[in-house]
Assembly symmetry: C2
Homo-oligomer: 550 residues x 2
Amino acid sequence: MAIRARLAVVVSRPLVSTTQFSRPAVLRVPVQARWQSTTTVDQHKGAAKTKATSSKVIKLTSETYPELKRDPKYAQVTEEHINFFWRLLGSESALIDGVTKDATDDIEPFNADWMRKYRGHTKLVLKPSSTEEVSKVLKYCNDNMLAVVPQGGNTGLVGGSVPVFDEVVINMSRMNQIRSFDDVSGTLVADAGCILEVTDNFLKEKNYIFPLDLGAKGSCHIGGNVATNAGGLRLLRYGSLHGNVLGIEAVLPDGTIVDDLSTLRKNNTGYDLKQLFVGGEGTIGIITGVSILCPRRSNAVNVAFLGLESFEKVQEAFKEAKGQLSEILSAFELMDSYSQDVVYQVTKNNRPLESEHPFYCLIETSGSNSDHDNEKLEKFLEHVMDKNIVSDGVVAQDATQVKSLWGWREGIPESLGYWGGVYKYDVSIPISELYGLVEETREKIAGAGLIGGSDEHPVVSVVGYGHMGDSNLHLNVAMRRYDKRVEALLEPFVYEWISKRNGSISAEHGLGLAKKKYIGYSRSDTMIRLMKQLKDLYDPNGIMNPYKYI
Amino acid sequence: MAIRARLAVVVSRPLVSTTQFSRPAVLRVPVQARWQSTTTVDQHKGAAKTKATSSKVIKLTSETYPELKRDPKYAQVTEEHINFFWRLLGSESALIDGVTKDATDDIEPFNADWMRKYRGHTKLVLKPSSTEEVSKVLKYCNDNMLAVVPQGGNTGLVGGSVPVFDEVVINMSRMNQIRSFDDVSGTLVADAGCILEVTDNFLKEKNYIFPLDLGAKGSCHIGGNVATNAGGLRLLRYGSLHGNVLGIEAVLPDGTIVDDLSTLRKNNTGYDLKQLFVGGEGTIGIITGVSILCPRRSNAVNVAFLGLESFEKVQEAFKEAKGQLSEILSAFELMDSYSQDVVYQVTKNNRPLESEHPFYCLIETSGSNSDHDNEKLEKFLEHVMDKNIVSDGVVAQDATQVKSLWGWREGIPESLGYWGGVYKYDVSIPISELYGLVEETREKIAGAGLIGGSDEHPVVSVVGYGHMGDSNLHLNVAMRRYDKRVEALLEPFVYEWISKRNGSISAEHGLGLAKKKYIGYSRSDTMIRLMKQLKDLYDPNGIMNPYKYI
């Protein structure tokens, strides 16, 4: 409804001519957006620091979810356990925090997630620095029924990497060495605890890139990326980690080291069981090393920012982009007007386009020849303007402008958190119906009188954005304060809506604690039974990341 | 050694100038190569018909491998079993061959592989036409301890798709319907028994392609492709099936239908257990349906055929191609001079290049813009000629010439079979050492006086070719007749050589019967133990494709 009304306003203006796209195009984005002083690297952490939430103490997960009970089968950490870990890991290079010294502050970052939604109360954080140490730690925990939580950069969105109760945190940050890189094949072998951005910078020097990019790259670990099967911004072009991960080294709860760190692109000798660790969210073992196929870095990167009048036109533009930009298309991101209004309200940056539109798309191309890519992009833009698929658009002229345009997409999550909290849904829906969920959700909340510009309304805005190229929608509800009435409207409505369309209730973010109980909306009873069978096979004592996943 | 001697001859000639590459280049390949009258579709079957082998009766596998004993735990097929299958599948549309009528001829193609190396003696071939029928068949077999062999197009190279003894063949050819195709996302859902080429032709009409191509495409099933994790010619560009397969429908031995036929590109809700069926070679269940992400068909395809003086130069050319052709590079195939000599001897076609060289490469580009691709390819070729990386080359001018140039690569397996038989190794080795295996193998056989031009020598030629882009080498030994002395020289030498370099003894072809006992050369004891654990989990009675895999 809202969309249609806006559309009428927009189409009454004359459409901007295609000449806008010919170089040099006028870029209307300021070179350095103000709010971007919080760098992309710390995007997640930055969001956690916004005024409305940072002052509050994070509620313990066990208080937020009183129905969750600590399983008495797990042992409590004793002095004897601690002595074992001290002997094994050492007092200096392998820390045991919060136990031998009164270090509650030190241990807090390992207990709480960056969204400030989940908080456990572990007293023990182990930081092994080798695969052998991980093996000894896990075997000991398994033998002694100590529940554990594998932890990478702790940037997840579903509470998967922090304890629910007093589970022992096994933090991988000390396993952070790049083991090898072959610059003919592009194969990288690295410790699980390598930070994504550090790894990508290493590859940059070799003229390669990591086949994954995401907002939390400055903090997240590549082991965590693999364990959660992270998708991110490069999936459209380079595919999923199931295809790019060539080998994995992991440790099972009984201490078995799964030595499957192949660097070969092809190896058809038996079951590809490493795939179970990709997206296994640390529930059957801990990934300690990864071998991954990296693509060559593109010489030429172009970004265009477009305004469109309907979701049907967005779909048309996407089809045209796939056809015409084909092998150089590296991103096709969707942003509705509501998401852009929020970014504008928070950042006060000049908008990329003079006119306003119900939908915006960010298109990125990456290729080996700048002239060819420019020509393809210009031809594509002329075509979609001529056909009235796209109403307006700009093209970035240099790397700074590329970054600024990306800011209007990447800045959405942070801006949404400005007022207080955000209900986040990361879902996959067949592309033709993708945006319907946002419209229906907005209508429901508006119908209940819960959305508005003043403080009496708990909801600031209902926005939709995401990776159009992967049918991956982020439905986010920006809140002044969390509100049970809104929650009752959202759930199970959102999950039922997705389930009816055979979508996924978690496209990228995984299950963790947040989605554990909703898996039935995306998986059949048979699939869930088979998954539990695998969990029991590898982790018969259930010590790995309990209370989560399935 | 041999290579060096030949090199001396070649480099004494003046190198051909780069102007050869400017369009229109002279194509020296005849438009219709003679031997290509056996179409690619029937390449495998064609090979099986060459004079030297077709007249012989194929030896029973149980005679070739007397150490293999039928496991008495499996039941023999009885009248009661047959009556059950008749009732279930019907007498017309679901055939039970060789039992109710004296149809030994009819059943023979299901018992023997196309290479004429392996032959079982089943009396029962079931052709279910729905997932429910497969479920009922498998459950009955499991309950009655009847061993089974899932069979697709029966084009494998390791004896995986035919019985060893009297296992019941479950042939998937009747499940051959395309279920759905979404032309925005490019997602295809199809029965496992769809023939690859038929499926690709369906996609062609939609301007898409199947992300896999291989010589046996006219016969092989897409279910079999997935079950064997087939690699083929498009892997360099589109990646492996582990990345492209979005969903699988499969039946476990107990009749459970694994309903994981997702069409979503992203779905992070639990273990990705479908991956165990990709490359599982029918040992834990039967794939009945596949959902797969298909790329857009490229408007422009270019092919160049190059001559090079050393394997070092081949590696340099590959690095340059990855850098300069980058996103449009779709194949980089290696062929040594010995392989090309064999094709020439058999086909008598005019060679693509006037001069002879120790190595040849076929480079294919696929892109959306013909002018851009031509320009990139020409620039690349000028560069590698200027730098003396490549000595000579031609570029195809039209689709017919593309096919003819490909014939010099795709025709190798068939030509090698001309004299009698071929010892085939499909291996993966770190790229810098890739060709060393061929040289050392040739020296060993030459040193033993077993190779030569006359009938007293069992070996015709030792050749190396393959997918350079994937570090995937085909080491083939063309034989006048199979010879135990040659076998003793080849094994375990070849496997030990690969194992020392952390290579794979089966890059694409899988384990089947042929490689089962050699898995230890590519996988650790731990990995083999974990694989056996999975096998036991899903197939506790061991009825699925016994005597093979692990």
